[in-house]
């Protein structure tokens, strides 16, 4: 240990960043850490692009009538915002960027099971992103991110590029999930049983199950849509006897489980940060692991709740509604266990912890409003209103994005070797929290008053709330601007991070910062679990640290 500490003190200690240099050493790498970093910057670029579109959408809605763009452009903007945020940012965000970097380290592995497949998944992401841009250049589409038929069949050729792009992004997602699942099964460090695994890994496990079992259905849906567009096969086209509702069934059979692809990894991060910043063993470890798997399984059984107002039978709607309420149980188990973990903990309000607490607060609101939408009678009124938009953003942005930021601030010192500046980051976190609530809480009100979503124009009476929402989006934008610029600033100017700046018990904090090429100096040993703070402190005391 002593020699390691001495080695860490010298600046030239070999790590994954300085082991080789040049663009080629990055683009051709099979190191999961470098692939994770490349993913991170790529998805952040996508996030900024999608965010700018969101600011544009809110700006257009500042006044009734035309504010900055015409109807068609507006429709294309919200479609592109949805597609970029969902397929290019949020689905790969936590697993492919942070998961790629940390999952192997957290289970004491040298790499993921299939390093080259990992790199391939990154390039598929790039290909998917390029095709999405091609679709924009060739005219864009205005179907919303859901591609409902027959509207999507009536689009011009750009829908082909978009469909192809998302088809490819699907494979990128499958490869990531498959890789992680095998890694967890086969490459756990000796001595680490299934129930010694960090909860982040368990969350990724549930996510990978969905990625592998649901994404192929999206693939076939998009193939059928492409065939429809290219060869007029007729399967989804009512004019040829086909069934457009079948498309919705197919689409939501993937896209409902997919929201759990988006949220589960976020829940995993919260389990890591809450324990670290309250210095306590997680409360109810096994309940949280099983709730992750329960969410993954139940997620497959509720897709029909997106279709309560279609031709779906009342009987199936009732069953789907019942099952939807069921999903609340595992989600609530997690929320209760996190709050129980906080109880009597020594809480440190780092930026990461602020985002984690924001997650618990906002995700609870998002989850509870989901119950409104899952109730059949209420849904008839709220369907396709801003209430749905607000609910979705509370779970996806208030949930996943907050968790992603919590994870980013938590792990960034390990990734870059530099600390971030705490004060501006905290200010940014508060701004993001306020801006988010101003933007989307108003949309719950707008929705319950009946303002339909995706409309270019609205009634005069909705204007004050819409303006409030737009002002909220500016606060949100400012928060992100401060957050990202201080993170970029810290890349060069941040204080050097040591091995374990947060005093966390996780495996990833027992290696050097930044980690060496094969993750650990020498063969790692599994001494104590990721939440065993008491064992860790006892051990430190014995070593006289």
């Amino acid at each position: 240990m002593a020699s390691n500490a001495a080695a860490a003190a010298t600046a030239e200690r070999p790590n994954y960043l300085n082991v080789s240099h040049g663009l080629k050493s990055w683009l051709g790498t099979s190191d999961h850490k470098r692939i994770g970093v490349m993913y991170l910057y790529s998805i952040l670029a996508a996030f900024c692009l999608g965010g700018l579109l969101a600011l544009g959408i809110r700006l257009e809605l500042f006044h009734t009538g035309r504010t900055i763009v015409d109807e068609k452009t507006y429709n294309q903007m919200f479609t592109l915002h949805g597609i970029i945020m969902i397929f290019l940012f949020i689905i790969p965000s936590i697993p492919a960027a942070l998961g790629n970097f940390f999952l192997p380290i957290m289970i004491g592995a040298k790499d993921v099971a299939f390093p080259r497949l990992n790199l391939a998944s990154y390039y598929l992401w790039i290909a998917g992103a390029v095709l999405t841009l091609v679709a924009v250049v060739t005219g864009g589409i205005d179907t919303g991110w859901t591609f409902y038929t027959p509207q999507s069949i009536r689009q011009d050729s750009s829908v082909i590029w978009m469909g192809l792009g998302i088809f490819i992004l699907g494979f990128s997602s499958i490869f990531t999930g498959l890789n992680f699942l095998v890694t967890m099964h086969k490459l756990r460090i000796k001595g680490m049983g299934w129930f010694d695994m960090p909860l982040f890994c368990w969350a990724i496990y549930g996510t990978a199950m969905i990625q592998i079992l649901a994404t192929p259905v999206l693939a076939i849906t998009l193939l059928l849509l492409l065939a429809e567009k290219l060869f007029q096969v007729g399967i989804f086209n009512p004019a040829l006897g086909g069934d457009p509702v079948l498309f919705q069934h197919f689409f939501w059979f993937y896209s409902h489980p997919a929201v759990y692809i988006m949220i589960l990894p976020g829940m995993g991060i919260i389990s890591e940060t809450i324990t670290t910043y309250s210095r306590r063993h997680i409360f109810g470890y096994r309940f949280i692991t099983f709730s992750s798997i329960a969410i993954a399984v139940l997620g497959f059984l509720v897709w029909g709740h997106h279709m309560f107002v279609t031709a779906e039978s009342e009987f199936s709607s009732m069953i789907f509604s019942f099952l939807t309420f069921f999903v609340a149980i595992p989600s609530a188990i997690k929320i209760f266990n996190w709050t129980a973990t906080l109880y009597k903990g020594s809480i440190v309000l780092t930026t990461s912890m602020l985002y984690s607490l924001a997650f618990i607060f906002l995700f609870s609101i998002g989850g509870l409003t989901g119950m409104f939408l899952g109730a059949l009678s209420v849904d008839i009124h709220l369907h396709d209103t801003y209430f749905v938009v607000a609910h979705f953003h509370y779970v996806m942005m208030g949930g996943t994005v907050m968790a992603f930021l919590a994870g980013l601030y938590h792990w960034r010192p390990k990734m870059t070797g530099r600390m971030y500046p705490e004060t501006p980051s905290r200010i940014a976190a508060v701004l993001v929290f306020i801006g988010f609530n101003v933007t989307f809480l108003t949309q719950f009100v707008l929705g319950s008053k009946g303002m339909p979503r995706r409309y270019y124009d609205y009634l005069e009476q909705f204007q004050p709330l819409n303006q409030m929402s737009t002002v909220g989006s500016w606060i949100l934008g400012l928060g992100f601007l401060i957050a990202f610029s201080s993170l970029i600033w810290s890349l060069k100017n941040g204080r050097k991070a040591d091995r374990n700046p947060w005093g966390s018990a996780g495996m990833e904090w027992r290696t050097a910062t930044p980690p060496p090429l094969e993750n650990f100096e020498g063969e790692p040993v599994f001494e104590y679990g990721p939440y065993d703070y008491e064992i860790m402190y006892a051990k430190k005391e014995r070593q006289g640290e």
């Binding site: 994404t215 069934d243 079948l246």
Partner: protein
Amino acid sequence: MSSEAPSFKHHVGHHFADADQEFSANKFGFWLFLATEILMFGGLFVAYAVFRGLYPEMWSEASGHLNRIMGGTNTVVLILSSVTMALAVRSAQTNQRKATVGFLVATLALAATFMVIKYIEYSAKFHHGLLPGTWYAPHEAGLPVQGNLFFGMYFMTTGLHGLHVLAGMIVITWLLRKAAAGQFSSSWYTPVEVVGLYWHLVDMVWIFLFPLYYLI
């Protein structure tokens, strides 16, 4: 038993503890990939059920226009190719280089036979105007109006299956080159094993597809 000693040495990936761990990881990963394939074809089988439920009479009427002799022959051809593939895996495991090459060539030949028969079937359908969607223009009288949907599903499903056969032929050719170079032995035969699994899946899909489209 072949006398030639394996000159090729496979290197275990740097992140694996040993060859056994590598083999079991590869095989598990491949099974997961096969699961995605099943889910993808699953979508087509669901669509089949939906349209057959919507138009039961049209479905059985249109189904009568598929060639059962050719479909049946193709079923036999594919099952045989699965047998030769399994034998190729066995030969690779037991260091029989020549037998491995021979069985792979046989598998490739059977796959090609399947594709040729499929081509003949497809051209007959094209000739008679039995095509999907807007292209549907049957020459014979008495064909149902919504038959376009049956042929839409038929061409989508058999087409995707055919693409999988083609992809299989490409990887088997790749295996063949490796096998001829003597790269497989009882200590390393992972590619033959997993391509074998893939080939059996392609076979299985056809075994479900054949009765559902041809025999109802």
